[in-house]
Subunit: 269 residues, 2 copies
């Protein structure tokens, strides 16, 4: 059985703590399940409403601007605010929220239309334990050299075989990726890593940050990052940085469905 559909793009923020990640799993609750179940409740559908996402984040990873699309039955009368507020209502009390919704045409695809993914990683670099952001940082006690890490990050830019920074379980056909930007900078006791590419391999950002951390703490010299890249062997690289510090920050689309301010009488004075 088929029915006419309408496609909606949604921008999503979530706290990945306690979730099994984006994708549905048997062993726990996923963002996908929370979102799709809310969508079914919202339009009272007997059929599963499937979502396609731009970035399948791992367990414990957070998102500031994840994007997905959902196909609702065409007969469901909806507006951008109804989709946003309705999904948010049914996703309660989970720490997942729709920031914006935008109707898109059926050719638009949250995964395949995306031209860039931006990730943010945060290390809390101080002797004292975190209190206000325990699940949102990697706590590293030893003082890290930010300049060394930034220099090393620059050696990874460009078109490379990233086999050394790829999870062994990675399902991508090719280990070749183009890393467009990888900045490391410090604000007070936090060190920020910002990585941008059209797409990343599984665990690539966390594996790169783990290697940079071992350069920052003096275990390895700055040029070790490039040596590891050239070695094309996962066992050469550093540890995998924990999920807690990773945020999917933004997805870039040539035809961005979220540029237009949504008409919302409540938020325009």
């Amino acid at each position: 059985m088929t029915f006419d559909i309408q496609r909606w793009a949604v921008k999503i923020e979530y706290d990945g703590t306690g979730l099994v990640g984006w994708q549905r799993q048997d062993n726990g609750l996923s963002v996908q399940q929370i979102l799709e179940e809310a969508a079914c409740k919202l339009c009272n559908s007997h059929f599963t409403i499937n979502s396609i996402t731009a970035g399948r984040t791992d367990a414990g990873v957070h998102a500031l601007g994840q994007v997905a699309h959902l196909d609702f039955p065409a007969y469901f009368p909806s507006t951008a605010n109804k989709i946003r507020d309705g999904l948010n209502y049914y996703m309660k009390p989970h720490a997942v929220t729709i920031l914006q919704a935008s109707k898109v045409n059926l050719e638009w695809n949250a995964r395949f239309s995306a031209t860039k993914r931006k990730y943010l990683y945060i290390i809390l670099n101080r002797p004292s334990r975190p209190t206000l952001n325990t699940n949102h940082v990697w706590h590293v006690r030893k003082k890290l050299n930010v300049e060394s890490m930034h220099k090393a990050a620059q050696t990874l830019l460009g078109n490379h075989d990233f086999t050394s920074f790829r999870a062994t379980a990675c399902q991508a056909k090719s280990p070749i990726r183009i890393l467009d930007r990888f900045e490391v900078y410090q604000i007070e006791d936090k060190i920020f890593f910002e990585a941008e590419a059209r797409s990343f391999l599984h665990h690539q950002v966390r594996n790169m940050v783990g290697t940079l951390k071992m350069i920052g703490d003096g275990y390895w010299p700055v040029n070790q990052a490039y040596k590891i890249l050239e070695g094309k062997n996962r066992r050469l690289a550093g540890i995998k940085a924990p999920a807690t510090g990773l945020f999917l920050k933004e997805i870039i689309y040539p035809n961005n469905p979220f540029t237009e301010q949504l008409p919302n009488p409540e938020i325009i004075l």
Copy 2:
């Protein structure tokens, strides 16, 4: 019985969620109890080690830079790092951490030596629920006018009788305070309120923010804040902003015990 003492100033960060506030209470766990019990365990004292704090925050209120002093027995061999790391060890797993410790002379007093208190209040101003900072903001759905709130805040600056913004349970002898600074500004979907004064009345910051919010959402005109101040009656003012959005940010001392970088081989590369 008396013994010789050594006095230590400590800078403390905490998440107030689930705590009854700074001060010991019968009905739950306080920051003071967590800190003092850790101090007793650290120096294996049979006597209670009392702490004096610069700002007795309420239940649910957080701190980025709370300051207290503790008197340890003089015989206890201690260094700044031992005090910091030792207290942090015994305060686990509570969301309270010592950022710095500094030995001070017996005339120095965390409460009475302080010349300025700085508070920060955060409103998350967007239609969508918070996910990553649920307990660290006041979530206001309706779009607030930041410029109006900032203008209104400026009318409260200076030496005034703040009776209208004072909790009925406030124990201060005088309702007169000098408000030195009160800035309101927005970064993305958050509105920040920064208030500075030598000292504040009980609930003063939260009551002022609650009134500004009612100006920001158009319920009251900008000049209502000053009218309320002049009325000297708590019932004239707006609602009390929730504790979740409030942070004790910094305590200023003419003789700042924390200026000196602590000698810490771990944090200096």
